[in-house]
Amino acid sequence: MSRVIKQWPWLILGLAVVIALLAPLLPTQDPYYQSLLARNLAPSAQHWLGTDSFGRDVLARLVAGTRLTLLVAVAATCIAFVGGVGLGLLGCLAGGVTRTVIYTGFDMILTMPAILLSLALMVALGVGTGSVILAVGIAFMPLFAYVTRAIHERESAAGYVTAARVIGVSPLTIAWRHVLPNAIGTLLTQIAIVMPRAITTESVLSFFGMGVAPDVPTWGRIIATAAGFAEQAPLSLLFPVLALALTTLSLSLVGTRLRDTLDPLGKQLAAGA
């Protein structure tokens, strides 16, 4: 039993994913239904966790929030991955001016803290779920680009890659047979590192009202609504905060464990970045 408890990050993560996937099917109330009469109610048989300041069922919003928050984070991480690895690879393989231009661009993005950059992007794009996904995705592209470059440099210098070239193996086969298996570990770890940061960034943006639309129940948004009524309805504040904290915590721990097993290169990168 204690061995199971030691793996608690995986458990919490699993729980979150399951809830996220099943959310539309679960028999909760409508998370968008407002009732001015039922505002800030304590937990009851009808509302297991009470209601918030708009009369919406807290539990329902929490469940929907799990799905939406994770969805936004996954989508943003995908955009960061595709953009970062794609452009990074292009820069590395093309070399010369293309490489300088691409990586200088990423340098500039990286000088700005992710929060500031996504804030600026959100001001331009306007509030909304799509915009948040795009803004957060762009903010984290440089991380994937740098990992791609590090992998490229490591593998180009690797003796066995040179040996394969000398034998006459075609570059494509070399990439598939030698480079990719070593690269996958590093990339997976990077995904596991970026995703909790994506969740956090979206939550902060939504908390400030610069993220998803006001009634969309991602955890950041729920916390923002509930924060103003901390004294009247502390539970409506406590649960989303706990959900956010535990999920990001679990994701981070899973990420570091992955990195320790799969990928010593990532450790050096994290220390340097």
């Binding site: 500031l116 001001v123 331009a124 901390a230 981070s252």
Partner: protein, 306 residues
């Protein structure tokens, strides 16, 4: 100091950085459909003719690059325009808000660095105290959990439940929350760097020379490990900026953060432009200062910058 470090190409690149970022932010801000006049018309203050005149007066009908040049010229003279909502000079608003934010972030940074470095050094010097677990938890918490979560929990515990401190207007809780966040970010890399340096060959040489443990720690281990803290300044800065914004919002403190957020909600371009620019310039300045600091700590970098 290090003359070869401040070479023209380096500074030029940094200036281009600020210029490019400010232009991009300018474009982003102005790219929003709808502008201040919509805000006014929604409030019903002006009629159609007055709105038109307002647009011309504010120069909103010029092309975007044109608007940027106008703004840039004025900015270089210290004139950052006037708030579109209140008509007060933006420079004054910034000047009033800035000290509060600087106080909060400065105090938090100091507290965080001192705490983080102390815990790391103590963990190394007194392994018997088993500070490793504390270190690890602190680090994971501050990386994973956003400051506003911690802030909310602290408010719930200390202000709502225990009623020890009021929610609004006090600096103590925000400084501690932000400080611990920074300490958590710094403590683990510093500890690992200290451990790694202790195992380095030149420490073995120092021992072979018969030096005292004290001298080895002060003169050999610590200076060689501090560079990792300086290298983290980018990450720390990011957390500091986001954290200051959050704390000002949660604890209703007057400062740059609240100023920016209110301006965003009110579509007050001039204020948003100036505030975000200020933050961006600040970030770049810190980057330059960090690079200079790194070069002065490690002479190898002074010769091979970039």
């Amino acid at each position: 100091m290090h003359v070869f470090f401040k070479t023209a190409p380096f500074l030029l690149r940094k200036f281009l950085n600020i210029a490019a970022i400010s232009f991009i932010i300018f474009m982003l801000v102005r790219a929003v459909p709808g502008d201040i006049t919509d805000y006014y018309s929604a409030r019903g203050d002006y009629d159609a003719n007055a709105l038109l005149a307002l647009r011309q007066q504010l120069g909103l009908d010029d092309s975007l690059p044109m608007q940027f040049m106008t703004w840039l010229k004025a900015a270089l003279h210290g004139d950052l325009g006037e708030s579109m909502r209140f008509g007060t000079p933006v420079a004054t608003m910034l000047r009033d808000a800035l000290p509060n934010s600087l106080l909060l972030s400065g105090a938090a940074l100091l507290f965080g660095l001192v705490t983080g470095m102390s815990v790391a050094v103590l963990a190394l010097a007194f392994p018997a105290w088993r500070l490793g677990k504390l270190l690890e938890s602190l680090n994971v918490w501050s990386i994973a959990v956003p400051t506003f979560c911690t802030g909310v929990i602290v408010i719930l515990v200390f202000s709502v439940w225990l009623r020890w401190l009021p929610i609004r207007g006090q600096l103590l809780l925000p400084v501690i929350i932000l400080g611990i966040d920074i300490a958590g970010q710094v403590v683990k890399p510093l500890y690992e760097e200290l451990c790694a340096t202790t195992r380095a060959p030149f420490i073995r040489t120092a021992r072979a020379k018969g030096l005292s443990n004290w001298r080895i720690a002060w003169r050999h281990i610590l200076p060689n490990s501090l560079s990792v803290v300086v290298a983290m300044s980018g990450v720390i800065l990011g957390g500091l900026i986001g954290g200051t914004l959050t704390m000002e919002a949660l604890f209703s403190l007057p400062g740059l953060g609240s100023l920016t957020l209110e301006a965003i909600h009110g579509r007050d371009y001039t204020v948003i432009q100036a505030a975000v620019m200020l933050l961006a310039a600040f970030v770049v300045l810190i980057n330059i200062a960090t690079a200079a600091l790194q070069a002065s700590i490690d002479p190898r970098l002074a010769r091979h910058h970039e």
